[in-house]
Structures are given as C-alpha cells and as structure tokens.
Symmetry: C2
Subunit: 109 residues, 2 copies
DNA sequence: TAAGCTACCTTGTTATACCAGTTTCTAGGC
DNA sequence: GCCTAGAAACTGGTATAACAAGGTAGCTTA
C-alpha cells in the first residue's frame, strides 16, 4: 500500500471523464490528449488510453475519422457525439457530487 | 458504460482516503463508518468495507481493539496509527493534486 | 533499403468494488 | 432450555479499469 498505487486507484474512472472533456472541445488524436493530460499532471500511458478510446467508441460516446498526416502515419481524430455530450453532463454531476462528499468527510474534525 | 458504473470507478481508491479520515478523528467501528459515509452520499456496502479495513490493518495504518457491546456481539473499534497519520498526509496531497488537475482539464473550453 | 520515428493496438497482471452469501454472538420470547 | 431475530464481522466469485511491456504498420530520411 503505497502512495503511487493510491494515486492510480484514485484516478480510476476519472480518466474517462477528463478525456471525454478534452474530446468535447474539438477534434483531437491520441497524442494531443496525452500531451494535455501530461501537462495537467494527469499522467497516462498509451496502453491505458487506446483501450479507453475504444470503449468510448463502442459506447457511441465518441466517433473518429482517419486523417492523413503530413509527416508520418495517418491519425484517428476523435470528436464527441450527441450521446457523448449527454453522458458528459451526467459525469459532471457525478464528479461534483463526489468532490462534495469527499470534502464533507475530510474537512470534518 | 453507464453512469452508475462510472460512479463506482470514480469512487475507487477514494474510499480508502475517506475511511482513513473518519478513523483519524477517533475510535469507530464499521457501522459508524457506514453511517457517516451514507450520510455524505458516499454509499458503501459491508462487503467493500471489511476487506478495506483489513488492508489498512495489514499495512499498519490502523489498529483495532475488541469492545464488548451492551446489546449484541462485540465490535472492532478502529484507531489510526502514527504511520497512518503520515500516510493520510500524503493522501491529502494526492487528492488535492488530483482535483486541481481535473479542474484544469474540465474548466477549459 | 535500412534505420528510425510515429501512431495505433494487444496481452497479461494487479488492484479494488460489488454481490450474495456465511459465521458468530447476544438478547428475548415461548 | 430452545428457537428466532438481529447485529457484527467476514468470504468467494465476478467485473472493471489502469498499467507494463510488448507488437504491427506506415511514413521519412539518410
């Protein structure tokens, strides 16, 4: 039981929320997302991101299109679906409620 | 992929944090914790709590003593150890940092 | 054409929450 | 005394998701 593992466990499920948010702001591909997440200190590795994107796609929350790159292999550019927007709204509430609950418990003394 | 499952995943790892906080405030037993968590809308079932308490105990973050009840079977009253207090401080930081990162991503537009 | 980079994907492991039970102990009614 | 009810602690199986450590394929450049 160490802090690094705890961080992983706390982050669980949050990634889905964050990535859906990033995609909701406009078309992006995997490396864009990793860059932004890393910048926000929400470290993610590829092996985590790709399965997650596939889950979101399977659930019809996002869609993608292939775009040829000017330098290198083609990229999958993701965008959010209407269904994804709806789901994101409920995730916003879930997160807000979770923060409230945690604050309620951890600020008591 | 539904909101209820997402809620479970987001809560994952947070429980450890919340329960350590509750125990840090004074001696409590399992039902006390469930009551407080339920009140804060952080629903937990027994089958989740007991293994978690055992993990905390194994990691020497908490200790317990048996106390006989006036009505019913004896209870395990938990209290936090010095090691647990240290760990709780790092968890506070982990949580704070996680909230900041998430806010950074979700508030951008 | 070979090396190197970029982008996407896959497999196996680990950790944790949940569900649906079981066991143990005490109290109270008959 | 015996049985039931309820409280408290615990357990086994399942599902989910992140991670580590790879692999595959396309493109560029020397």
């Amino acid at each position: 039981m160490n802090a690094s593992n705890t961080q992983i466990q706390m982050r669980k499920g949050l990634l889905e929320f964050c990535i859906l948010h990033i995609i909701s702001r406009g078309e992006v591909y995997a490396s864009d997302m990793i860059d932004e997440l890393t910048e926000a200190k929400m470290i993610v590795v590829e092996g985590t991101l790709y399965p997650l994107l596939n889950r979101l796609k399977t659930a019809s929350l996002v869609s993608y299109k292939w775009v040829e790159s000017e330098s290198g292999p083609p990229r999958k550019y993701y965008s959010i679906t209407d269904e994804g927007k709806d789901f994101l709204l409920t995730l916003d509430q879930t997160w807000e409620s979770l923060v409230k609950s945690t604050l309620l418990i951890t600020s008591k003394r």
